[in-house]
């Protein structure tokens, strides 16, 4: 009952891909992509995690029930992050005409009123 035995070359190839993606994510982090830096970094991390789960953790060769368990983990994570974000990011959308200027969303200004009035933190 040895299960699925992947050839060594698969593991080395996945390791190589993970190294390349690590270098890409570092290089891209220094490029000023504005609001795209975050989704790009997350996409690369998700790709790396998927490779580890499928090949190193053998999810690709697991039973359907095990695959369901794997998917469940990320389903509940998506509920946790997704539903919280829809709340936080939409606060004030309907309260104030003209968009998200409400009390919940937006950059919180930690600076005392007397401080120098430079950038408000938006980018």
């Amino acid at each position: 009952m040895a299960g699925h035995v992947s050839p060594k070359s698969t593991y080395y190839a996945i390791f190589g891909a993970l190294m390349v993606l690590t270098i890409v994510t570092i290089a891209v982090a220094y490029q000023p992509l504005g609001s795209w830096n975050f989704p790009v970094a997350i996409s690369i991390a998700v790709t790396k995690a998927t490779l580890v789960i499928l090949f190193f953790m053998h999810a690709k060769y697991s039973s359907k029930l095990t695959k369901l368990f794997v998917a469940t983990a990320f389903f509940f994570l998506a509920v946790l992050l997704g539903l919280t974000m829809t709340d936080v990011l939409s606060r004030g959308l309907k309260t104030y005409p003209g968009g998200a200027g409400g009390s919940g969303y937006g950059v919180r200004e930690p600076r005392p009123a007397s401080a120098a009035p430079d950038a408000a933190g938006a980018h």
Partner: protein
């Protein structure tokens, strides 16, 4: 109850022979036993995903509220050390996967060697992490220990560093636990406890080790990299 030889009278006598010594009496086959262990391990990992998920959520919320502080504070982290640790940890995942493979194919000596390499890389990660933490203490970037941060963002920066220490600290704790786990597995492997028929503990420890690797795969870009290109003010 604990007879050395268990006979399956209820299964038509098809399995009426001595069981594999590693087959627990409540399972029909080694395959079924392995499947149950795999699902149990993933169930545990689901709880781990939610455990770390709460911290990632906290990170996301404060990042949305204090983007400038997040950018300024993340510039204080050492990308060279963090990047090195990323390579070390992914390397340890490779050696772990190869250890599981060696156990699957019944190569006892190779299993032990790959496991020892995995532990060595795990230890390397923790040593590098120690130097990173020491640097934070020197620069007064540890919340609660004479915290200092120049500029107007000291308050939110302290939140950033609180999350930094909470998330990397919890991750490092998992590494220490994983190291202990692998010590036991290596000992068992060296004594020839595993075979191509039964290597479940090696594979389950591998699942745990890879999970800890995945946590770092997200921690590294989120804490060290993601706001590096943004310069506020």
């Amino acid at each position: 109850m604990a007879d050395a030889v268990v006979v399956h009278g209820d299964h038509g006598g098809a399995h009426a022979h001595a069981h594999h010594p590693d087959l627990q009496h409540h399972f029909d086959t080694l395959g079924q036993q392995h499947e149950a262990a795999t699902m149990g391990m993933w169930l545990f990992l689901i709880t781990e995903v939610m455990f770390f998920g709460g911290l990632f959520l906290a990170y996301m919320l404060y990042r949305i509220w204090y983007p400038r502080a997040w950018s300024e504070a993340s510039l204080e982290l050492n990308v060279l050390l963090g990047g090195t640790n990323t390579i070390v940890l992914i390397g340890s995942s490779l050696t772990m996967a190869l250890a599981v493979r060696a156990a699957q194919t019944g190569l006892r000596k190779q299993t032990v060697v790959w496991l020892l390499l995995t532990m060595a890389l795990g230890l390397t990660f923790l040593v590098i992490k120690y130097f990173e933490y020491a640097e934070k203490f020197e620069h007064h970037h540890v919340p609660g220990f004479d915290f200092h941060f120049p500029g107007p963002d000291a308050g939110p920066a302290e939140i950033y560093f609180s999350l930094y220490f909470l998330m990397t600290g919890l991750h490092a704790t998992h590494m220490v636990i994983g190291f202990g786990l692998l010590s036991v597995i290596t000992w068992m492997a060296a004594r020839g406890r595993f075979s191509p028929d039964w290597y479940t503990p090696v594979e389950m420890s591998g699942l745990y080790w890879h999970f800890v690797d995945i946590v770092w795969i997200f921690l590294f870009p989120l804490l060290y990299l993601v706001d590096r290109a943004h310069h506020f003010a």
